[in-house]
Symmetry: C2
Subunit: 480 residues, 2 copies
């Protein structure tokens, strides 16, 4: 590869790309099935409120009802973002025109660059980007989505992928396919998203710039990152130090085996590097490492909805004894523990629970438990000073459980006193209650394993953050 | 506990319990919300074709439209199964009457026995069972379900729990709550089930009897077992030896931590024992061990639908590069490998794939891959002698993938030549395709991790079976 044409990108430099007021779609077309058609449609369907300029060298007057231009140079208005989807060999020329037109930033979705050995062609794009101080995302990527501002460069048919509601999770993925399927899963699971970015070959804007941007983005509460490799190791570490002080960063690194690393290299020309080295960095700098795509979603869900705690004593309340046993196993396997309940909590529970309920951890409130029993148990147990967080297992197959039970849980969750996860697993009836709870911000998991892993992730991050912020916190705060 | 009143139970002895022609429901009532009401309703709703006799000491003439009896002794017909749901202190008397009436077997769903310290009361039931050679399931259980024969002793409201279609998976669970939620999940995921049994305190019919029964049940292709403890270790091992030669047994053992073991003891009075000892037995005797409820379902799915192979070379075909990298990692992490494709396969692929497709493993056929490209890749790769099994990643967010892609995959699966798993993850559009594939017997997973773990489970069991059957198999077969 030629000399690195990298210029330092400040996070504000990426604003035109994420939150543009005007967008040129270069390669826009009326022909269905083409990328430039899908991008135009997505802007229109999303309800983008800024100016939208289709650009096509063929010189049509209108494309999908919008006045079209032969070149970005013909538009004659300020352009924040140009989305480029022309064949690889024309991208350099288009970028040159964008630079001369003073475009704020570009997203190159076209492929045919370093990932197929065309590094020279890719270096040319990077050189134009540098020359005009015009940041470039891509090439070989899906680009960006800002859910709030309805900026959406993705060229996937809208009916094939659920679009998310506005929220606090931002998700960056080097891989477009991982990006799209995870975005789809997150939307389907009711996540609120802020920004999404698929950055492909990372010829200019890379993982360091994106991490830095999301760390300073006030709309982003949780960062989720799928990484194939890091090109600037030192800068990544420096950025990570800042980012993880500000907010949780959930990361998944592919290429964790030698064979996987080889596959990553042929995918986005990434040098995956030694996984052990990455893992050491992740641990030292407070990243929350996900083992797979399931973890990503599970961890994002708890960080997005629950307050932090570094306490490891997890109270279990269950209406099914077997699940209480599995939960206990899962909690201890993840380095957490069950609390010893305070004497006063035990007394309080004995007053409100039927005689058949054994007052101890895990607290099995019985298969006939109704909303009142759940509420009583939640109140008594959550008030216990020995309890740091709660795992509530609500099985809706039982005779006692109905929508009043989910309501009890939602009511407790609304107070956001101590972190809580819920486990509910089952079919159609259960899933309807899960949807209601999740829409109210309650993180629900299908297994005690997923719930315990997520609690451990939250607690691990909270402990890291307390340790690094020690210098800033008041002594009394630290003594708590 | 008093002396063990155990009498050896032959597997045929359990036929009256699983496939009765006549059932007495003792404790049946017209009152909604009562267990005896729910059991009656479930028999009626399930469409049980045998004789159904409600029994209640109060002497109603009819209960839910069926002629009622004060005692099983009044029925005057052969009774295969009595389902007993009267208060704990009356169960012994009812069983005495069942014995005198020549009932074939009983299910005691009532609780209030060893799990709350009433071991003497429980021993009395066991003594009656022994005296009349009348096997008893329970107490403190949900009982049994035979999906084919519509025998269903569960007392959970039908609208709260999805009922499964007829199939080859049988599921035994000591815990009722794990049993119910997993049954619900399995039904919701479209599993075909044969038998279900929740056996609670296992006072007479225990894990050994059930494993033995399911091993010899010709309708059961795959056994799934949730275990809290084993009372007769040696007998369990002897039974396991036979069972795992005949069919795969997926097992999950709770109480794998000290704290979990304590919780198990208070749940069903099980002595969980040392988990390491259990694990050693599981491994030595060919059980497939599941780490959590997710594993249970994932493993059952592959065993239920795919042929066995002990070969570890997994070909990956994907329409998303990032997933190919994750799949490679997952495959190697689970002790499996990617194949080196045969020269002829590479040539065949080059003839049918576009020039942009890199002919190597993992095979990334591109985001624009359509059904034809999937079919071509499946044909060429599955014919390769170096390929033992396939992981096909079909991402429906991509422009090329639609219902013709799922059809291609279903068509390949119908041939059942080499084992195949599919990975498809996403929202509503994806889930609709997943449902179609799963209904056609294709095992689909949401993550490459779950798919690779399931392949490893299949391959591990196949290798065990080949090793233990070595003596029986012909030498030529072994040389393959």
């Amino acid at each position: 590869m030629a000399k690195n044409p990298k210029t330092k990108i400040e996070y504000a430099d990426l604003d035109p790309i994420f939150t543009p007021k005007s967008v040129a779609v270069v390669g826009a077309t009326d022909k269905p099935g083409k990328v430039g058609h899908a991008i135009m449609l997505n802007y229109i369907d999303a309800g983008f409120s800024g100016a939208l300029y289709p650009v096509n060298i063929n010189g049509e007057s209108f494309i999908i009802g919008h006045k079209a231009y032969k070149s970005v140079l013909d538009i004659g208005e300020d352009i924040d973002l140009a989305v480029i989807s022309v064949p690889a060999k024309y991208v350099g020329g288009v970028m040159e025109e964008c630079g001369r037109a003073g475009v704020g930033g570009v997203v190159v979705v076209s492929s045919g660059f370093a990932e197929v050995g065309q590094t020279k062609l890719q270096d040319e794009l990077a050189a134009v980007s540098k020359k005009y101080k015009m940041p470039m995302v891509g090439p070989n990527c899906l680009g960006v989505m800002d859910v709030r501002g309805r900026n959406d460069t993705l060229f996937l048919p809208t009916f094939k992928i659920d679009r998310p509601k506005v929220g606090g999770v931002s998700f960056a993925s080097q891989s477009g396919s991982i990006g799209a399927s995870t975005l789809d899963l997150m939307s389907s699971a009711g996540f609120g998203l802020s920004r999404f970015i698929s950055y492909g070959n990372a010829a200019v804007v890379d993982e360091v710039d994106i991490l830095n941007y999301l760390a300073h983005d006030r709309h982003t509460q949780v960062i989720v990152f799928y990484l194939e490799g890091v090109k600037r190791g030192k800068a990544f570490i420096e950025t990570a130090k800042v980012a993880t002080k500000l907010k949780p960063v959930v990361i998944i690194k592919s290429g964790s085996t030698n064979a996987g690393a080889g596959a990553a290299q042929s995918h986005t020309a990434s040098l995956a590097g030694s996984y052990e080295a990455y893992r050491a960095v992740f641990r030292q700098y407070g990243f929350t490492e996900a083992e797979d795509a399931d973890d990503l979603l599970h961890f994002a869900k708890i960080f997005d909805t629950q307050p932090l705690t570094s306490g490891k004593r997890i109270a279990v309340i269950t209406n099914g004894g077997g699940h209480g046993v599995l939960a206990t196993d899962a909690i201890y396997k993840n380095g957490l523990a069950l609390p010893r309940l305070d004497k006063r909590t035990e007394d309080a529970l004995r007053r409100v629970m039927p005689a058949t309920v054994n007052v101890r951890m895990p607290l099995d409130i019985g298969g006939d438990a109704d909303d009142k029993r759940f509420a009583d148990a939640l109140r008594a147990v959550s008030n216990d000073p020995n309890v740091d967080a709660l795992m509530v297992i609500a099985l809706f197959q039982t005779p006692g459980a109905d929508d009043r039970v989910s309501e009890s849980i939602i009511n407790y969750a609304a107070k956001r006193q101590k972190p809580m996860v819920v486990v509910s697993s089952g079919g159609a009836y259960t899933k309807s209650h899960v949807a209601v709870m999740e829409n109210s911000g309650v993180p629900v998991y299908e297994s005690t394993t997923a719930a315990a892993r997520s609690l451990a992730a939250l607690i691990g991050y909270a402990a890291y953050r307390e340790a690094v912020l020690q210098g800033y916190a008041s002594p009394s705060k630290r003594m708590e």
